[in-house]
Structure formats: C-alpha cells, structure tokens
C-alpha cells in the first residue's frame, strides 16, 4: 500500500490547489528564463540572419545596431575587391515609428541586397520572398500586418508579400524587409516641398558660379533628379557586410580594410558582443538578476510548502511509529509525496507556460537546457524540503500519537 498516494487522495483538493500554485510559480520561473533567452536571441536574430563574416561600418562607430552609421554605397565595391572577400553587399537598417489605425507602428526597416538577396533565407511562415525590386515587403507577424495588405511609407505604397515569425530588432520591434533601395527611400524620404526647395537652392548656387553661367546645361541639371548629379553622393548605407572566401583569414582582410581610414570592421562575433554588451546589456542583466531572485524565492516557498505538508502529518507519523512502522516507510511517505508534488507542479508549470508564453508581446524562449535546469532545481528542492520534514518526523516520539 502506498501511503503517499493514499494521503494525497485523502486531501486531494488541497493537494491539487497547492500543486497548481507551485506549478504557476515554476511557470513564472520558466517564463523569466525564457524572457531572458528571448531577449538575447532577438538581439542576435538579425546579425545571425544576414550571415556576415565581417561588418564594415562608419569609422569609429559601433555599427548600425548601436548608433547611426553611414557609409557611401561605393564601399560595397571597394570591399568586394579586397582579396579574400567572396562577396559584399550593403546593409541598410533603421527603425521607424509611424501611425496605423490610430496606434503607433514601430518597425525595423531592413534592406535586402536586391537582386542577390530576395529574402529566401528569412524565416517565412506565409507568402513568398520579394519578386520585384520595388514596392514589396516581407513583414514580421508581430507587426500585425496581413498578407496582401498595403502600407504607405513615405511617398510609396508597399504590399506585404510574405510574413516571418520572430524576426525582431534588439528592441523587440518587428522587422519589415524591403529591397535596400526601398529601405533607403523610406529612411531618406523627403517631402515634395523640401525636394523642390533643395532644387531651387541648387539652381541658385549654380547661377552664382562662373561654370553655371557659362554652361546652361549645368543649370538644367541642377534642378533635376539628385541621383543624376555626379557631384552629389547617393544615399548612404548603414554598413557593408562581407562574406569571406573559403580559407580566407578574417584578420588579414580586416587589416586591409582598417587601413582605409573611413571604415571600422568587426567580425560577426565582435558584432554580437557589441550588441549584447551594448543596447540590450542593461535589460539583459536586469532580467537575469530578477530571474535569479525569483528562482531563490520559489525555492524557499516550495520548500516551506513541502515542509508544512509534513508538519501536518506529524500525528499520523507518530501513530505509524507507535504501531511499529519502520523508518523507511515514513521516509518514503514524505519523500515520495514531495517528489510527486514537485514533479506534478513542474508539469503544470510547463503546460501553462506552453499555453501562455506565445501570447506574450515579446518572445519567451524556453530552451531544453533551461527546462532541464529548472527540473533539476525542483528535484533538489523537493529532496531538500523533504529532508527537513524527515528530520522533523524522525524526532517525533511515538507516544505523541496518544494524548
């Protein structure tokens, strides 16, 4: 006859409620760990996703995720020409906040290097990659946009052709992918009036110099598209990302580019470190600390609950001793009950978490490692708490059952 199970069955309601309570506590512990992992993972999802070996950014900046970084597009060609570089493309990334249906819509705008990168590598859950070099976008589902939905950004309207999951910026904002030209158009969008004023100003400046007066075509050009004027720079890119040829040495390649004077380079690992030490560092440490605290508190609460469970049974335990039950029967009763509660509570926490975590606004990433760790903690607490109870039970005199 299993005494632990009998006792549980006898006070089933109480046991179930306590177990659910402990389970919810464990769910929060799991969730806090998951929020931590999610934060770290989200911060790295873009850098990992683009698959760069080397990041080339504006000189002395920490790259586009930490601060503003601007490079002329021509750096792409320069980087491509460095021995050891397999290919290079521009990286355009910035965050915008617009309004949609009266609510703020924050999104990370990521430029894909059309035509080499149409977004085939993205974690698509619906739709397709980009098929034309303008006016299409792939949006993360967290942005709340539907397939086929049209969104006006700047002067142009973009159609959502694909949806991704968990593609978010380090701030947790959903990312939308465009061709890099479109991404730049969104970033550097200027109102028509400002464009007209700028053209007029150019015309004015051209009239003021000899060259402008002697060459009428210069005046003509000055009021045309800025992209056609050789003297004006094209829109800047945030960074250039390079992939190395097989066998190439990253240090050597970096050495060449660092000699240029207008760029700074980072390896992929350095970039990840910059991210974790930079923009998400405080949030990460804050959650980590809270998680440690929460784990300790849960451990204490759980231990107390299990210990109290034993205290409530001291009279029957004295009685068992009185009728001659050996110690291992009593130890078994306490230990098994505590393990049953710990195990069930863990399962409850896990199941509730499975149901609840996907509804969180940011990713809650519960890894198998974390699950195992929490399970281990629960096991240790269950055993430890029952040891306390067993210690107490061993000291109960059988004659305490009488009286």
């Amino acid at each position: 006859m299993n005494l632990a199970v009998r006792d549980i069955r006898h006070s089933l309601g109480r046991f179930v409620l306590t177990t659910i309570g402990v389970g919810m506590l464990l769910m929060v512990v799991l969730g806090m760990g998951g929020i931590y992992r999610g934060l770290v993972d989200d911060a790295l999802v873009v850098t990992r996703g683009v698959g760069a070996d080397i990041w080339v950014v504006q000189r002395d900046t920490r790259g586009p995720f930490a601060e503003v970084s601007r490079l002329p597009r021509s750096v792409v060609d320069r980087v491509t020409a460095v021995p050891g570089v397999r290919d290079a493309r521009e990286f355009v990334f910035h965050t915008i906040q617009r309004e949609r249906g009266g609510r703020p819509l924050r999104m990370g705008v990521l430029g894909l290097g059309w035509p080499t990168d149409k977004g085939e590598g993205l974690p698509l859950i619906a739709g397709r990659p980009l098929a034309q070099n303008h006016f299409e976008m792939i949006a993360d589902e967290s942005l709340g946009l539907a397939l086929g939905e049209r969104l006006q950004l700047g002067k142009d309207t973009y159609t959502v052709v694909g949806l991704t999951r968990w593609l978010v910026s380090s701030g947790g904002d959903g990312i939308a992918c465009f061709t890099s030209r479109d991404a730049q158009a969104i970033q550097f969008d200027e109102p028509g009036e400002s464009v007209r004023l700028e053209r007029q100003a150019r015309r004015g400046r051209a009239r003021g110099i000899d060259f402008g007066r002697t060459q009428p075509s210069v005046l003509e050009r000055a009021s045309g598209l800025s992209g056609r004027i050789a003297a004006l720079p094209g829109p800047a890119v945030s960074a250039v990302i390079a992939r190395l040829a097989p066998g190439a040495d990253a240090g050597e390649v970096q050495g060449i580019m660092d000699g240029w004077g207008d760029v700074t380079t980072y390896t992929a690992d350095q970039q990840e470190e910059l991210l974790l030490k930079g923009s998400v560092d405080r949030a990460r440490r804050q959650i980590l600390l809270f998680r440690v605290l929460l784990t300790i508190i849960s451990a204490v609460i759980m231990a107390l609950i299990i210990y109290t469970l034993t205290l409530d049974k001291l009279h029957p335990i004295a009685l068992l001793k009185l009728i001659g039950a050996p110690n291992h029967t009593i130890v078994g009763l306490i230990l098994q009950q505590s393990l049953i509660m710990g195990g069930l509570a863990f399962a409850v926490g896990y199941v509730i978490g499975l149901e609840l975590f996907p509804r969180f606004p940011r990713r809650v990433l519960v890894t198998n490692d974390d699950l195992l760790r929490v399970a281990g903690i629960v096991l240790v607490i269950s055993v430890f708490a029952s040891l306390l109870g067993i210690w107490k039970a061993m000291r109960v005199a059988p004659n305490e059952a009488i009286g």
């Binding site: 006859m1 005494l3 009998r6 006792d7 069955r9 006898h10 006070s11 029957p316 009685l319 068992l320 001793k321 009185l322 009728i323 001659g324 039950a325 050996p326 029967t329 005199a397 059988p398 004659n399 059952a401 009488i402």
Partner: protein, 248 residues
C-alpha cells in the same frame, strides 16, 4: 514461544525528568499476564497506568526493570533489544482511548497496513483485514474513512488493527472512555473473546467498574505502585457493592 507467559514485567521503575522536576511514575511495578488472560488495570488519574503500558509496550522504556514478552527478554535493565520498534510491530497490539486510526486510510487499509508492516503480501494482509473487520461487526464499513465512523466503530477498527499482526500481547489504554456503557462493555467482551480464542494476553486500563466481571484478573495502581486488586479496594472505587466473579 511455547507456554511462556504473554508478559512478565519485573520491578519496573520509571522516572520522568531529573533534579527538582523528577517524577517517579512507576515504583517497582511487577505483573504477569498469561496467554489468553485478560487483565484490568484500575487506578486514579496520574497513578502511572499509562506509563506502565508505555513501558511494557516498548514505547517509552522503563528506567529500571525487566520486560519479558512471550518468553523473550526484551528489556533487562539497561540492556534492550536493538530494534524495539520491530518487536513492537511483530508482537504487540495497541488500542488507545481516542481512536488512533490513520486519518488518510479507510477502515480496511488501517487494518491492512499492520499486516503489510510485518511483511505479509498486500493481498494476504487485505484478506485478513476484511476477515477481522467482519468478525468485529464492522465489515460493512471497510471502505469508510475514520471520520465517517462512530466512536464505537472506530474503536472496533482499532481492535482489528491490534489483532492484525497476531500479537502475543494487546495493550489497551482506556479504550472505552469515549463510548457509552453498552458499547464499552461490548468492546471489553471483545477483548475477552480475542484473548480466549487467540491465546493473547490483554491488559486493559479502565475506569468502568461495571464491566469488571469480564476480566480474569484485576490490578490496581496507586502512586506508581501496582498490586492485585482487593475486593474492598475495587468496591471502594466502584461505589455500591457488586459481585466480581474473578476476584478473591
């Protein structure tokens, strides 16, 4: 264990506490209970009756003295058997004033566990438990929890548990205190029947003088001293004169 008496207690002395808090609860108490003998133990409150049962029941060993159960010297002065709890579950049955059933086990389980504790297979212990409950007239309540049973029913289940390990000695401390006199007498008669049919020695601490005719022997205890009851002593404490067929 042959023909050895169920219990031989010789010169039991029990001292609680020490120094100025010292209480001598038993003074050289001796008693012999044969197999099949039912002994009553009378005496005022605080006389040391419970202490005596705890000493011979190996729950709270005496400070001095010798306890022999079924011919086996269990306690001899400072020397005692290594595993008293084991001896207890194999040879002694207990019944106390308040029902002492395990609250989370139903009636049958409360009896069955005793059988399992002495190593019987669950099925065997179960069968025996149900037989005992039937024999004690509470077979129909086998599946009830202790709180669902009346005081008398609880006491019967406790008796069944005390019998489940086929003990050589049953110790009952005021088992009928919570019962009305009819029920109390029934329980006493139960002890007598058990003792006579199973050859078990039984000691019952009681205040109920109306049921004394059930017992084979009657002892009195006063201030830690134990002696066979005299007619006058019993009558004095029992009030109006009564016939006790077993008293000298």
């Amino acid at each position: 264990m042959g023909d050895a008496p169920a219990l031989e207690a010789n010169g039991l002395t029990k001292v609680y506490g020490s120094g100025h808090t010292e209480v001598v609860a038993l003074r050289e108490a001796s008693m012999q209970v044969r197999r099949g003998e039912v002994a009553a133990l009378l005496g005022p409150s605080g006389a040391g009756k419970s202490t005596f049962l705890l000493c011979v029941g190996l729950i709270n060993p005496p400070t001095r003295g010798r306890v022999t159960i079924g011919g086996r010297a269990v306690i001899d002065g400072p020397r005692a058997l290594g595993d008293l709890r084991r001896f207890r579950r194999e040879h002694i049955g207990f019944v106390f004033q308040k029902s002492n059933l395990i609250p989370f086990l139903n009636a049958a389980d409360n009896v069955q566990i005793m059988g399992e504790l002495i190593g019987r297979p669950a099925a065997v212990a179960r069968r025996r438990a149900l037989e005992l409950l039937d024999a004690l007239g509470v077979g129909a309540r086998a599946r009830n929890m202790p709180t669902q049973l009346s005081g008398g029913e609880q006491q019967r289940v406790t008796v069944a548990r005390a019998l489940a390990n086929q003990p050589s000695l049953i110790l009952a401390d005021e088992p009928t205190a919570a019962l009305d006199s009819t029920r109390g007498r029934q329980v006493m008669e139960l002890f007598r029947d058990v003792a006579h049919t199973h050859g078990t020695g039984v000691i019952v601490v009681t205040h109920d003088h109306r049921a004394l005719d059930v017992f084979d022997t009657v002892y009195e205890m006063e201030d830690g001293m134990l002696r066979p009851a005299t007619r006058s002593g019993v009558e004095a404490s029992a009030g109006p004169a009564r016939e006790h067929r077993l008293l000298p």
